[in-house]
């Protein structure tokens, strides 16, 4: 069996990333979950958090995902998110500004979203 899974990371308005991977780690509501080829069919609810995708070439793709679902069957993995960004799409400076603003305005949701982005951006470097 080919030890690869086909991953599609789709946001509501676009396909963010798709390709082959050997391991995908995502955070569900009940904890982190790692999916490798041959995993049993799975459907889970995602928390906002970074998603790590390991490609067969040994590279890593990190994306910030804000809520959504993970579904896996027949070595096809889909990550559905309302909003998803790859780590290299994230502008660290702007997110830091956003985080500061969210903290100042005491907006817990915006703060968490900015925090997730920041973590994903730093993890992808």
């Amino acid at each position: 069996m080919a030890a690869e899974l086909h991953v599609a990371l789709v946001a509501a308005d676009r396909e963010v990333w798709s390709g082959e991977a050997t391991l995908v780690v995502a955070r569900t509501t009940s904890g982190d979950i790692g999916v490798m080829p041959g995993h049993q069919p799975l459907l889970g609810v995602l928390e906002s958090g970074p998603v790590t995708i390991r490609t067969p070439e040994g590279g890593t793709v990190v994306a910030a995902v804000h809520g959504g679902f993970i579904s896996f069957a027949d070595d096809k993995l889909s990550l559905l998110a309302e909003v998803a960004e790859l780590s290299d799409e994230i502008d660290v400076q702007r997110v830091e500004q956003e985080l500061a603003r969210a903290k100042a305005e005491d907006d817990a949701e915006a703060q968490r979203a900015a925090d997730v982005r920041l973590r994903a951006a730093t993890a992808g470097r």
Binding site: L42, L43, S71, A73
Partner: protein
């Protein structure tokens, strides 16, 4: 220049200006259709995967969820009507409104009370003019809807369907929008969004006749369904908004194209009339000159004698 000719010239000028405007609007609409179509295409993978997931939970578990089970005796329904903010789109809004009215009538015949939710100023104006009750309206984004707009529209609907019928909730959720079939064809359709018809949803997923695997739900089937269905409604509304926007631009393009064609025709007719008037003027002048000259000749011939 004679008065007649001047009037024709003025009308030709004004029609030419109108033609320029409609031509520009046609071209703007044409470029927007392409953009809107691209957005529809970009949103398809998400909608497809989501529908697949919903079908998987719905068929793969014995969960009873208010959003998937039909009420024994549905008494209230919500209808979401998607129109546009601006007109100049031929029969686009009229068709959508007509479809919504037919659906409302049918639901009322079945003994259901109907709450109407409207997107777009045109639909709102139509209902307000007839002093009909509207549950909620949303305006200002129909040309280029974003996912955030879809969420805004979906929020009160999801709330209504989740609350008890006695407390102002609804049992069913219908949506009326204009489906973008092709550049030339857009049809207003009404469909039931909730409760979900699982066989319909299954038919929509890409693989026909494919057997869905038995999923392991994380954390549980109920929780997954709870989280999935609002997202499903949002994504369906988003898709409908995008299709409606694409259809509106296509309808505008067509309406403006025929306006441009008509203006062209009018210019042709007016030019012919202006030519005839100019010719008549010249003929008249010549006959006046000839008449004057011969009268003069007659007069001088008479004085010689």
């Amino acid at each position: 220049m004679g008065a007649q000719l001047r009037v024709y010239k003025r009308r030709i000028r004004s029609v030419t200006a109108t033609k320029k405007i409609t031509k520009a609007m046609e071209m703007i609409a044409a470029s927007r259709v392409v953009k809107a179509q691209r957005k529809v295409a970009a949103s398809t993978p998400y909608a497809q995967e989501l529908t697949r997931a919903v079908t998987a939970v719905g068929t793969g578990s014995n969960t009873k969820h208010p959003l998937t089970t039909e009420a024994d005796n549905p008494t209230r329904a919500a209808v979401l009507l998607l129109t546009s903010d601006r007109g100049l789109a031929g029969a686009f809004n009229a068709n959508a409104i007509k479809a919504a009215e037919q659906l409302t009538e049918r639901l009322e015949r079945e003994g259901k009370q109907v709450d109407t939710y409207i997107v777009g100023r045109r639909g709102v104006a139509h209902y307000n003019f007839r002093e009909r009750k509207i549950a909620e309206t949303f305006t200002g984004f129909t040309d280029e809807p974003s996912y955030a707009d879809a969420k805004k529209v979906a929020a009160p609907l999801i709330e209504a369907i989740q609350s008890e019928t006695a407390d102002g909730g609804v049992d069913e959720l219908h949506i009326v929008y204009t489906e973008f079939v092709s550049m030339m064809t857009q049809t207003a359709v009404g469909s039931r969004l909730l409760p979900l018809r699982l066989d319909d949803a299954a038919a929509e997923t890409a693989g026909k006749g494919e057997i869905l695997p038995l999923y392991d739900f994380e954390p549980s089937a109920e929780d997954v369904l709870d989280a999935l269905l609002p997202r499903y409604v949002e994504s369906r509304i988003y898709n409908a908004l995008l299709q409606s926007a694409a259809s509106k631009h296509a309808a505008t393009r067509r309406a403006m194209k025929s306006a441009t064609d008509n203006a062209g025709e009018l210019i042709n007719t007016l030019s012919r009339l202006a030519n005839a008037a100019r010719q008549a003027e010249i003929t008249q002048e010549i006959s006046e000159i000839v008449g004057g000259a011969s009268a003069l000749a007659d007069a001088t011939a008479g004085s010689d004698n």
